[in-house]
Amino acid sequence: MAPPTGLRRLLGGMGNDGNWLSLSEHIERFGDSPASAMGAEELARLLDDSGLRGRGGAGFPAAVKVRAVGSRRGRLVVVANGAEGEPASSKDRLLLTAAPHLVLDGVGLVAEALDVGEAIVCVKRVDAAAHEAVAQALVERAEAGTERCEIELVAVASGYVAGEESALVNELNGGPPGRPTFVPPRPFQSGVGGRPTLIQNVETFAHIGLIGRFGSEWYREQGTPEDPGTHLVTLSGAVQSPGVYEMEGGGSLEDLIGAAGGVAGEVQAYLIGGYGGTWFDAALAPRLGLGHADMRAVGGALGPGIVVVLPAGACGIAETARVLRFMAEESSGQCGPCVHGLAAVAYELEELAAGVAGPGAVDRLERWCADIDRRGACSHPDGAVRMVRSCLTAFSADLAQHESGHACRVPHGAREVLPLPGDLAWAG
């Protein structure tokens, strides 16, 4: 079976109009399910050679996780994380709805290689279509009788931190959703049912399934040596065609925008990496690479593949204030610095956006950000702080205006850009 050429690897596994391919259509397009004869170490080596990194945001090498869990004793667990908590991300929902067999191929391959006792796919309860698609896909696979490990579909809660690894494990263990736990132990040591648990984003499993079929060299045919393969990126805001795109690893922001038909109107800034990500002034855009090293060099990260384009007519301070209020509300409420810190930052930003912040507002914000960073049980506050700090840099002109008592130049009631759950404008 000829491997996919070009960039449309995962997107190529989808049917028309967001419908999914049946199992037989899927096999027709990609060939039989990937070889199941390999063990944990062989799989780890394959993933090592491919250089695949997780697609959930942390970008951790997949091989390392496979080895960490695969080398442990007892009944192992594998979990596909489709709990996509970032409001500006829809790639996981798309993948689960339109190409569930891609994800299940990867889960099945890993489950067999590690000889796990349990394999779980987590889909948000509210993603009804994704749920339906995965459920049907599982029925097809059961009827075909090719799956050697039973995969369980579990509906999980929504929420910004619901997909955080330890929080997801907590929920799967019967605990409340959206409550990260203190680590160590991490899931790979003690996870679902106290067992060593391998958790990967659903997109990561989709890539693993294809690597299992076509190999690591094929995987590396796209992307760069440091950033091999392809990424799904959710692109929204002031572009001609917002949506989910598949881009090459190490690609440029310009190429991504180009694929979406270019910008729509004058652009002010780019938010890269989601709401735990980084603002970049538009002037930097021509030089911005989205690869791991490129992003790190400018203090950013692609995260779970999210880019939001801010038009010139919006106010970055006001947008950030809205998001920070959301981030403060999404705190699990367990850690003082996060609960109190994000609330204080959100309030200060709201005051700034309205032009009524007290003197020293920016100094206070910077001091709070420095204090809040890395002081929660999870990285939720770290992301929020990153976004705030980058806001203070990227929107320095508007910041000066707001600091000196001017309210937003954006007319009151103007349409907000960054999507939040519950917004009328947000399709969800």
């Binding site: 736990t181 203190f182 850690c335 003082g336 204080a344 204090d371 002081r375 929660g376």
Partner: protein, 74 residues
């Protein structure tokens, strides 16, 4: 044996603050009363102060650990 490191479990911590009173060399309180811990290794005489602070924490949130958590340099 290499020197230990202080760490707080931020979930168990309720911001009681006695740790900062007992070990101000390495612990201060943020604007909301929660401990900001200097995670550098604790040497020599300071270890006693660290131990006392750990024992005094009413929720046992303060920990003296053999290894630094990931990302902290020794």
């Amino acid at each position: 044996m290499s020197p230990p490191h202080l760490r707080v479990n931020p979930i168990t911590c309720t911001g009681h603050g006695i740790c900062a009173e007992l070990f101000p060399e390495r612990i201060r309180l943020d604007d909301w009363g929660y401990p900001v811990i200097d995670e550098a290794p604790v040497h020599g005489d300071l270890i006693d102060h660290a131990q006392r602070a750990v024992e005094a924490c009413p929720t046992m949130a303060l920990l003296l650990e053999a290894r630094a958590r990931a990302g902290v340099e020794d």
